[in-house]
C-alpha cells in the first residue's frame, strides 16, 4: 500500500490522543446510532435526533433507555449512570451525549 492510498482521516486518527475531538464525534455518532437501532427494534417512531431533543419526548420509553444504556456499556465498557458520583439524570439528548463524553 502506498502512502497516497491512505485517506486523510486515517492519518488524522493516527496522530490523535484518545480523547481528541474525532473520538468524541465517534462516541456521539455511536450513541445516535444506538438510539435509532433500539427505536427500530422496539418498533418506536423516534423524533429527529437534535441536541435539544427532550428525551421524554423522543418517542422512546424507559425500556428503550434501559436497553440503550446496557448495550452501550457492552460496546464502550462503561455505564456513566452507575459510575457517576453525583446523581445526574440527563434531560435532553445533548445532556445524554455529554454525560457519556465526560465519563469516557
Amino acid at each position: 500500500m502506498t502512502l497516497s492510498a491512505a485517506a486523510p482521516g486515517d492519518l488524522a486518527l493516527l496522530e490523535q490522543e484518545p480523547c481528541a475531538p474525532g473520538v468524541k464525534a465517534d462516541l456521539k455518532s455511536a450513541i445516535l446510532n444506538k438510539f435509532r437501532e433500539v427505536a427500530s427494534a422496539q418498533s418506536k417512531t423516534i423524533a429527529p435526533l437534535t441536541d435539544d431533543l427532550v428525551l421524554l419526548e423522543s418517542g422512546l420509553d424507559s425500556l428503550c433507555f434501559a436497553i440503550i444504556v446496557a448495550t452501550l456499556e457492552d460496546e464502550l465498557g462503561y455505564d456513566p449512570f452507575t459510575e457517576a458520583e453525583d446523581v445526574f439524570f440527563p434531560v435532553t439528548l445533548g445532556d445524554f451525549v455529554r454525560f457519556y463524553e465526560r465519563a469516557a
Partner: protein, 459 residues
C-alpha cells in the same frame, strides 16, 4: 337480613363525604365528578343485575375501570380486576377458576364471555333512583405474575386493601392524587382508594397516554400527591424542570436506591421523599421516610398491624392487610401455618439497615413488573435449534433490571445472528416488550445444581 358489613362500601363512603361536589376523577380525555358516580350509574339497565355475581372487570379505559369498581363494591360478590396486559387466552381459565358469571366491559364484549351476563360502562354517569344497595363485603381479586401458564389470582377484602390508609386530617386541603401505576394493579389501586377514602380527587393515566402528556396534565391540574416506581421517577428526573410541585412523593414496587432518593430530594426540596414496601399478596408493609435506602433493622420483630421476620434471607410479613389467599381449588397456600406471607424478596443486613438485594427464584423486577424466567425460557426452548436456555436479570440504572438470555444449542449454529433474530422474533410475538430478552448469548453449557435444575442466582 345480612351480617353488618366490615366497612362502608366505596359509594356509601363517597355519599358521606362533605366536599363531594368538588371531587373528580380526571382521565386522559374526560373527567367525572364523584358526586355523579355516588348518585348515578354508568352500567345501564344491566347494572342492578350484577348484584351477588362474580364479575369479570375487563375494561380498557382505566377511568371507566375505576368508576366500575366504585359501582360494584358492596354489590358484586366478587370483582375480578383484569390488568391491561392480561391476554385474552387467559380468560377461559380465569372465568372457570373464579366462577365468573358476569362481565363488565367498555369497548366490546371480550372473547370467551358470550355466555355471561354483560354490562357496558358508558360515560357519563346517569342519575338513578334505583341503584343496587350495598349489602355484602365484596371480594376483590387481583392478578399477580405467574411462573408460566395462567396468571395467579389473589383475593382481598376492601378492609385489607384499605388497612394502611389513614383517615383524612380535618382542615387540610383536599389532596389531588396521581400515580404512574395502572389503577388495575395493586400499586395503582392503593392510590385510587386513598383518593376515594381520603376526600381527594385523582388524575388517572392510561397505557395509551404518553408520559410527557401525563406530566403536563398533572402540572396543569396541580397534583399534590404523586407515587410511582423508582423507574417511573427516574423518567420524571429526565424531564425538564416543569412546574409540577407535589407535596408528597412516594416510591414503591422496586428497590429504591440511594441515587434516585437523593436525586428526588434535590428535585423536590423541602418535602419528604419516602419509599414504601407493598406486595399484591402481602399488602402494604411499611414506609421509610428518613431519605435512606433500605429500612431500619428494628422494623424486624416489632409488633403492630404488620409483623416482619427474615427467614433464610427472605422477608416474611404477617399482616391484617395481606390477601385472604389465592383463588382456585388447587391453588397453593399464600400464608404459612403462623400466618406469614413469604415475599420472596431477599434482604441483607448492612450497617444497622436491611437492604433489598433481589428476589428469590431468579424473578426479575423490570421497572416494577415482575418477570418469571421460566416463562421466557419456555418460549425460547420452543425453537427447534435450542436445547436449553437460562433467563436472568441484569442490573440496569434505568429500570432496575433488564432481561437477558443464555442459550445452549443442539450442535452448532450456521448463522448465529440469524438464529438470534429468530429467537427474538418468537419472544416478541408471545411476550410483552419488558419480558423480551435484551440480549441472547450462545453458550456451550449451563450449570445445573445437585437436583438437576438450572442454577439460578438471586436476580
Amino acid at each position: 337480613m345480612s351480617a353488618p358489613l366490615k366497612r362502608l362500601s366505596l359509594r356509601e363512603t363517597l355519599r358521606r363525604s362533605p366536599g363531594l361536589a368538588e371531587r373528580r376523577l380526571f382521565g386522559a380525555g374526560t373527567s367525572v365528578g364523584l358526586a355523579d358516580i355516588a348518585g348515578g350509574t354508568t352500567l345501564g339497565e344491566a347494572g342492578p343485575m350484577l348484584a351477588g355475581r362474580s364479575v369479570l372487570l375487563r375494561v380498557d379505559d382505566p377511568l371507566a375501570a375505576a368508576i366500575a369498581l366504585i359501582e360494584l363494591d358492596g354489590v358484586a360478590r366478587r370483582i375480578v380486576l383484569c390488568p391491561p396486559d392480561l391476554a385474552d387466552e387467559s380468560l377461559p381459565g380465569v372465568i372457570e377458576t373464579a366462577y365468573v358469571n358476569a362481565v363488565v366491559y367498555d369497548k366490546a364484549p371480550p372473547p370467551y364471555a358470550a355466555d355471561l351476563l354483560g354490562a357496558r360502562v358508558t360515560l357519563p354517569a346517569k342519575a338513578s333512583d334505583e341503584l343496587p344497595e350495598a349489602s355484602r363485603d365484596t371480594e376483590w381479586v387481583m392478578f399477580t405474575s405467574g411462573t408460566s401458564g395462567p396468571p395467579k389470582m389473589v383475593a382481598h377484602s376492601l378492609a385489607a386493601l384499605t388497612g394502611a390508609i389513614k383517615p383524612p386530617v380535618a382542615g387540610e386541603a383536599p389532596p389531588l392524587w396521581a400515580t404512574f401505576y395502572d389503577v388495575r394493579r395493586y400499586g395503582g389501586l392503593q392510590i385510587l382508594l386513598r383518593a376515594l377514602l381520603g376526600e381527594g380527587s385523582m388524575a388517572i393515566t392510561s397505557p395509551a397516554e404518553p408520559m410527557a402528556a401525563f406530566m403536563t396534565r398533572m402540572t396543569q391540574l396541580g397534583v399534590t400527591h404523586l407515587t410511582g416506581t423508582p423507574s417511573h421517577w427516574r423518567r420524571v428526573l429526565m424531564t425538564p424542570d416543569v412546574a409540577l410541585a407535589p407535596s408528597y412523593v412516594r416510591l414503591s414496587g422496586e428497590i429504591a436506591d440511594q441515587a434516585v432518593l437523593d436525586a428526588l430530594a434535590a428535585r423536590f426540596p423541602g418535602i419528604p421523599v419516602g419509599h414504601a414496601y407493598a406486595l399484591t399478596e402481602a399488602g402494604v408493609g411499611f414506609e421509610v421516610n428518613d431519605g435512606l435506602a433500605g429500612f431500619p433493622a428494628d422494623y424486624i420483630g416489632r409488633s403492630g398491624a404488620v409483623e416482619m421476620r427474615v427467614v433464610d434471607g427472605a422477608l416474611q410479613l404477617r399482616s391484617s392487610r395481606a390477601a385472604d389467599g389465592y383463588v382456585g381449588e388447587t391453588a397453593a397456600a399464600l400464608k404459612d401455618d403462623d400466618g406469614f406471607v413469604d415475599t420472596g424478596d431477599m434482604v441483607e443486613l448492612r450497617g444497622g439497615r436491611y437492604h433489598f438485594v433481589g428476589r428469590r427464584g431468579g424473578i426479575i423486577n423490570v421497572g416494577g413488573l415482575k418477570v418469571h424466567p421460566e416463562e421466557i425460557e419456555a418460549v425460547i426452548n420452543r425453537h427447534p435449534a435450542v436445547r436449553m436456555s437460562l433467563v436472568k436479570g441484569r442490573r440496569n440504572p434505568i429500570t432496575g433490571a433488564i432481561v437477558v438470555a443464555e442459550v445452549v444449542l443442539h450442535g452448532c449454529a450456521n448463522d448465529e445472528a440469524a438464529l438470534r433474530a429468530e429467537i427474538l422474533a418468537d419472544c416478541r410475538q408471545s411476550l410483552p416488550a419488558f419480558k423480551v430478552p435484551t440480549s441472547v448469548k450462545f453458550t456451550p453449557a449451563l450449570a445445573l445444581n445437585a437436583n438437576g435444575k438450572l442454577e439460578r442466582a438471586i436476580a
